[in-house]
């Protein structure tokens, strides 16, 4: 049963955070502290390539749906507490804001992503509604259509090319996504012979959902409560999701857009990140079949791996450090994973980024050939 209970970690952290908010004062940091503690321990744990138990998979779905609902409760609770003037000190105000922001990203966003990929009506509906938790109901369309079809090419707004910093990526990705979302929405209403303002159009439903969500935040917390709650969602789950995209596809190359191959994404296979992120960092399997539920994803034992997720996200915020970390990995990918055609694209991308050293072999410093290869024997060891 351990496989099933593992995923209760996310709602448990949400509960701790909510309790800390309720207690107020310095306790507002409680959820954040637990989350960072878990991620800190995770950084010292070996990679986990195990498959999940498949006997009672409905339990996973229930926990996932429950986490989305609990995330809604959490943000409403935060708004209400702000409206009540509950956070009296600066430390309490900052702690509540930062904790809600960061927990919204790590705990709230993954189940939303998981469910809007699902086929079952109720789960998908919850996933779509759940996009209020990233304050962007349009994120799904550019993700499911554009990102999954064009991953690891500059045609994908979620993709960061070699040499791109996370800050440049954020400035590029949002306009790219908005443009793409408009293009796709317009295609859908045009195909169905409707006017843009037809109430049956998908965008109307999305906009109505967002308005209703905002209205609830306002009703609970007034103007300040709603504003701060929305700000945590925009700066947390919404923007940090783009940091996730930045690191998870950084610099990898596909010469076969539309036909994903497992080596075209990075993976983060540490045990706690797998659990908290609902396996989204177990990324090759997700891109191979985006309909596959998180508990059926099979970690790629020979796939490209980055260091622990939290560390990589933090490094991304300091571009020189991120580049120091990623360059040897990209060089290894170019040498051992890229197809001949992809290798030639990589060579040009390295020149474009000014990373000429990646195009010259250096046997003394290059990573060993099997550094990412996890054979069964090595996993057991």
């Amino acid at each position: 049963m351990l496989d099933y209970t593992k995923y209760l970690l996310s709602p448990a952290i949400l509960a701790v955070h909510a309790y800390g908010l309720w207690l107020g004062g310095n306790y507002v940091w409680l959820g954040m502290a637990v989350l960072l503690g878990v991620l800190f321990i995770d950084a010292y744990l070996p990679r986990d390539y195990s498959m999940r138990d498949q006997r009672y998979v409905r339990i996973y779905d229930v926990i996932c749906a429950m986490t989305v609902i609990a995330s809604f409760v959490n943000i409403f609770f935060f708004s209400w507490l702000v409206g009540q003037g509950h956070f009296a000190t600066t430390s309490a105000s900052v702690g509540a804001f930062v904790g809600t922001l960061f927990i919204g990203f790590v705990i709230g966003a993954p189940p939303v992503h998981e469910l809007f990929h699902r086929e079952e009506f109720v789960l998908r509906w919850l996933g779509r509604i759940g996009q209020c938790l990233i304050y962007d109901p349009w994120r799904e369309i550019t993700h499911v259509v554009t990102h999954h079809m064009r991953v690891a090419t500059p045609d994908d707004p979620d993709y960061a090319r070699r040499g791109d910093t996370v800050y440049g990526h954020i400035l590029r990705t949002f306009p790219g996504q908005w443009k793409e979302a408009y293009h796709l929405e317009k295609m859908m209403w045009t195909k169905r012979g409707r006017q843009w303002y037809d109430p049956r159009n998908a965008w109307v439903y999305k906009a109505a959902t967002l308005v209703a969500f905002t209205a609830i935040l306002y009703a609970l917390g007034g103007l300040m409560g709603a504003l701060l709650a929305i700000l945590t969602l925009l700066l947390g789950p919404r923007m940090l999701l783009e940091v996730f995209n930045y690191v998870n596809h950084y610099g990898l190359i596909s010469a076969t857009p539309g036909r994903f191959e497992k080596h075209q994404t990075w993976n983060h296979i540490t045990p706690m990140v797998r659990i908290l992120a609902l396996e989204i960092t177990n990324h090759a399997g997700h891109h191979e079949d985006s309909y596959k539920p998180f508990y059926k994803l099979e970690p790629d034992t020979n796939g490209p791996v980055q260091p622990q997720f939290l560390l990589v996200v933090l490094l991304a915020l300091v571009p020189p450090l991120f580049f120091m970390m990623i360059k040897p990995l990209l060089k290894h990918w170019d040498t051992h994973y890229a197809s001949p055609q992809e290798r030639e694209i990589a060579r040009r991308e390295n020149e474009r980024a000014g990373w000429h050293e990646l195009n010259s072999p250096d046997p003394a410093r290059d990573l060993p050939a099997d550094v990412w290869n996890m054979t069964a024997a090595r996993i057991a060891a």
Partner: protein, 358 residues
């Protein structure tokens, strides 16, 4: 005719049985893994499933689901299917994940599919033609097989940008592979690939080609052909006509070729050679859509659809039609030909859709 590639029931629980029914009563049965894409899995098994782009753009793999369940990878409203087709149960096989055993309706081909390969090559001809067209010819590091009317994707070495072009060559005799292949590339203002190609002579540049893809030139070999080409849509038509002329001693062809002006007639040499080699079996009608009224041109003017009609002297009820050009042109010609009595199953079309510009 029922053609079974599988035992009477799927051997494993993770397999789904797919029964493809043709409108002619034929049936083909095969098994694929649950959650596999219908088109991809069918092609991998050697099933001659109709297809072209394989990424949800061209609509060639249009399939009607009669029973069973598939999940489309994307909202079908974002595909070339019409709203009526979506409501009638059509899906695109290239985007359809198979969830359970299916009975579907599609028109399967009756010839062996060629394996898709990725091959490096060098430009051996970069020749500017009239009408902002380049004749691009590649010598391949390893020879490839292709059928008349097929296409491949090409990409310059080191570039993300890849584009699809039809071979204009006639496939070599006896199924031999080709060591060189050629394409007609039209300059599209702002188009990343074509603008780059036009910038300077690219002879010697390395390219990657991946293919072959698509099915277009398949019909009874001895059936007369009506070929309608818009601009560089002439490339697969040259391949199909040349191939069918070699395979049949009796089939005759009418080529309706539409370009904008008399200054854009980029293929005069090739067409003249074809007419000289087969004077009794090939007829050419060139029609100009934007020729100045005061020019010396005495031939027909207007869109290619204006050249189609009884005056063309074609037995529309018995002809095989091969159409290639931009999406709007091909759709207009399809409608026109159906109205003139061409059997829909005998209309073979390749629709050009401009790609993005990464």
């Amino acid at each position: 005719m029922i053609k079974e590639r599988a035992a009477t029931a799927p051997a494993r629980a993770d397999l789904c049985r797919v029964t493809v029914r043709g409108k002619d009563g034929s049936e083909e049965i095969f098994d694929i893994r649950r959650n596999d894409l219908l088109l991809k899995a069918a092609i991998e098994q050697g099933v001659d499933y109709p297809h072209n782009c394989r990424v949800g753009v061209c609509g060639s793999c249009k399939t009607r689901v009669l029973s069973g369940r598939v999940s489309p990878m994307v909202d079908l409203a974002l595909s070339p299917l019409t709203n009526q087709e979506i409501e009638a149960g059509y899906v695109l096989a290239c985007q359809a994940k198979v969830r359970e055993s299916l009975v579907v309706e599609a028109k399967l081909g009756r010839h062996a599919l060629l394996p898709v390969r990725t091959v490096a090559s060098r430009v051996v001809r970069w020749q500017r033609l009239a009408g902002d067209v380049i004749d691009l010819r590649l010598a391949l590091d390893a020879p490839v097989h292709f059928n008349a009317g097929q296409y491949c994707t090409i990409a310059e070495s080191g570039s993300f940008t890849r584009r699809s072009y039809s071979y204009y060559d006639v496939p070599p005799e006896e199924g031999a592979p080709a060591g060189e292949v050629g394409f007609l590339v039209k300059r599209l203002p702002g188009g990343q690939f074509s603008e780059w190609l036009f910038e300077k002579d690219r002879t010697g540049c390395k390219f990657w080609i991946e293919g072959p893809f698509g099915i277009m030139g398949v019909d009874d070999p001895d059936r007369d052909g009506l070929c309608v080409a818009g601009g560089t849509g002439l490339a697969p038509i040259l391949s199909i006509v040349g191939d069918r002329l070699k395979k049949s001693r009796v089939a005759r062809f009418t080529i309706v070729f539409g370009v904008r002006t008399s200054g854009d007639m980029f293929a005069n040499d090739r067409l003249d050679q074809l007419l000289a080699a087969y004077p009794d079996r090939v007829r050419l009608v060139t029609i100009l859509s934007h020729e100045p009224a005061d020019s010396a041109w005495t031939g027909p003017r207007g869109l290619v659809t204006a050249a189609l009609g009884e005056k063309l002297g074609v037995d529309f009820g018995d002809v095989a039609a091969f159409l290639c050009g931009n999406l709007a042109m091909v759709e207009a010609v399809e409608k026109c030909l159906v109205a003139l009595g061409v059997q829909p199953d005998r209309i073979h079309a390749d629709k050009f859709v401009p790609s993005g510009t990464p």
